[in-house]
């Protein structure tokens, strides 16, 4: 059985992927946080990607495949640390993959890299420019790491590198900003805006990663879920109440709360509940024979309050 290394294994998505592929691979994982009660056949190393010892795992275990999930997507930490983990950490991992002859690499990027802009097409394909930093510089590291991996994909044709860009991921285990937002009792929305949002279930993301490994895909793929609904429908279906507020008030409040460290979301994130950031996921469905198992209704009920 081939060895598979999962970075960020203790996170919600990491655990789901580990469980999903545990029968096909000899799985080991790295994470800064420990995974209490992990299955006994999975080896978990509690370690930081940026530490020198990280390379030892590659030397010792010689993984044939790597799934890279070790990203900081929240804003609770120092932005410099965030950038370092996301960009320098990824760079480090890519170097290891090249040096220790890894055959397959799957990176879980995000559809947010395209940005939510008023003039974006509704169903952006994988060739769309990564525009997120135009209005949302706080997450430019997400676009940077995506591009690092894309460059790696072309530089090492012998490694089957795949970059997946899933849409808003919801579910029981994954902690995401959009999940936390939808779980609120009263959900502030931007007055006069109600964009279409796509959702995908966390289990479908794990399934997509497993399929990618199975098929040995190579390329950049959007991962869209079963469909799109307006934001307010999503809020209603997850059991919340939309509270439309003027944009100025929301942005002002977020800016102040963020600066004071009381709320961990930059004001630029508002764009994602103002304009659609919807992607065309057909390329992945064709290449991997993938079809989302979870319907929108099931996705919403998985996070219903």
């Amino acid at each position: 059985m081939d060895r598979l290394l999962i970075t960020g294994i203790a996170g919600g998505q990491g655990r789901l992927v580990a469980r999903r592929v545990a029968d096909d691979y000899q799985v080991s994982g790295v994470d800064r946080a420990p995974w209490e009660g992990h299955p006994s056949q999975i080896a978990v190393h509690t370690m930081d990607l940026r530490k020198k010892k990280f390379e030892d795992i590659f030397r010792r275990e010689r993984p044939a495949a790597v799934v890279h999930l070790a990203f900081v997507r929240h804003f609770r930490a120092d932005p410099r640390v965030r950038h370092e983990i996301n960009v320098a950490g990824t760079k480090r991992l890519l170097e290891c993959c090249a040096q220790y002859a890894v055959k397959k690499l799957v990176v879980l990027s995000s559809s947010y890299v395209y940005g939510a802009l008023p003039e974006s097409s509704y169903y952006m394909d994988e060739e769309t420019a990564l525009n997120v930093s135009r209005h949302y510089p706080d997450v430019r590291d997400l676009a940077e790491l995506d591009m690092l991996c894309t460059a790696f994909l072309w530089k090492y044709p012998e490694i089957a590198t795949t970059i997946l860009r899933p849409v808003n991921t919801l579910g029981h285990y994954v902690h995401s900003a959009i999940g936390a937002y939808l779980k609120m009792r009263y959900v502030p929305t931007v007055l006069g805006f109600n964009p279409m949002l796509q959702f995908v279930h966390e289990e479908d993301v794990a399934e997509a990663i497993a399929r990618t490994l199975e098929a040995g895909l190579r390329g950049v793929f959007n991962l869209a879920g079963p469909g799109a609904v307006p934001l307010k429908v999503a809020i209603r279906e997850t059991g919340g109440t939309a509270v439309p507020l003027p944009e100025i008030a929301i942005r002002g409040a977020l800016k102040r709360l963020f600066r004071l460290g009381l709320f961990h979301l930059p004001s630029a994130a508002v764009d994602f509940v103002k304009y659609p950031c919807t992607v065309d996921g057909r390329r992945f469905c064709r290449a991997a024979g993938f079809a989302p198992l979870f319907t929108l209704e099931e996705i919403f009920s998985s996070v219903r309050r």
Partner: protein, 340 residues
């Protein structure tokens, strides 16, 4: 109470009609677990009931809407019913929540159409010719643009819903700044509009839907009264998209729009100051009740390389422009009065 019963009966009748084989909208089954609370409204409001406070508020507002609607005159209720039926018969795919992939929603579209249908029937008293020329599947409806505000687009869109068989919802291609305008962006999406990027247009055509475009753009819409019924220069973008997607072009000529709000000229300095494409000097506070004549021509098929140089594309565009010009002249000859 009597109204309640009547409303419920109508509701169930519609229910059976909808289930018939003639129904072309592919609607997924409603999500499991959603309660089908009977509501009093004719329009149904939100499709699912629930018992959270927000939902009881919604129920309350839909009850209020139902009472208002039962007070409405009979012709209005009939018109509402007719539009609902026609929208349900249009070949648009909706998801389980009643939205298409671009955010079109028949409930919202119906409300807008109710107003535009009143204008269509009783204010502009539109006469539509050649609606049977609309092909099945994808099409690009290309028309002349005039009258300072885009009532012509609204009337063409209303005609294809009210008169065509099957009814067609025309998808408008909006300017890039429209999505930034509060409320307008939502209304645009719910009634079938999208931002006018080439990719959006291609996707929608490949979905076998109908797109409407005015290649004259603002040049046509804001031209002064003395240039009425003189077609301005056409943009070439629509032809490249038609060639790329193999879409037939349906030429449409609108007679009447030019007289709805005559403009004496264009005050460019003020337009530049306000950041607007034009500032027409209009003397009327509201559009005159001119009579509209809309004629749909036979579909035109074009073959060729969508990336051809402008000269080659221009020749094809000129054929469409000439066709619309002919149809306009014929319409003007046929018209006996501007208002009657």
């Amino acid at each position: 109470m009597a109204t309640t019963i009547r409303n419920r009966t109508q509701r169930s009748e519609r229910g059976t009609a909808r289930g018939g084989a003639a129904r072309r909208v592919r609607r997924l089954p409603r999500p499991a677990g959603a309660a089908f609370g009977p509501t009093l409204t004719l329009d149904g409001g939100e499709p699912y009931g629930s018992d959270t406070p927000a939902h009881s508020l919604e129920t309350l507002s839909s009850v209020a809407g139902g009472i208002l609607e039962s007070l409405a005159p009979r012709f209005l209720r009939d018109l509402n019913h007719e539009i609902r039926g026609r929208l349900a018969a249009s070949p648009i795919e909706l998801n389980a929540y009643g939205y298409d992939p671009w955010g079109f929603n028949p409930d919202v579209a119906r409300r807008v159409l109710l107003i535009s249908a009143l204008l269509y029937r009783y204010y502009f008293r539109v006469q539509t010719h050649g609606i049977e020329n609309l092909p099945d599947g994808r099409m690009l409806v290309i028309g002349n643009h005039a009258g300072q505000i885009a009532i012509d687009a609204l009337m063409i869109g209303t005609a294809t819903v009210l008169e065509a068989d099957p009814p067609r919802v025309l998808r408008g291609m909006g300017e890039y700044w429209l999505p930034t305008v509060p409320f307008v962006n939502v209304l645009m999406a719910r009634t079938g509009g999208v931002v006018g990027t080439p990719r959006n247009c291609i996707e929608i055509l490949e979905h076998e839907e109908a797109v409407i475009a005015f290649p004259e753009g603002v040049r046509g819409m804001t031209k002064p009264f003395r240039q009425r019924y003189q077609l301005q220069e056409f943009g070439y973008g629509f032809m490249r998209l038609a060639l790329q997607t193999g879409t037939p072009i349906v030429p449409v000529a609108v007679v009447g729009s030019e007289e709805q709000a005559p403009s004496l000229g264009n005050f460019m300095p003020l337009a530049r100051l306000l950041g607007m494409p034009a500032f027409p000097l209009v003397v009327t506070p509201f559009p005159y009740p001119v009579r509209y004549h809309i004629s749909f021509g036979e579909p035109m098929d074009f073959r060729g390389n969508p990336n051809d140089e402008d000269d080659a594309i221009g020749k094809k565009v000129a054929r469409v422009r000439a066709r619309i010009h002919e149809m306009l002249q014929a319409g003007l000859r046929r018209r006996r009065s501007i208002f009657l």
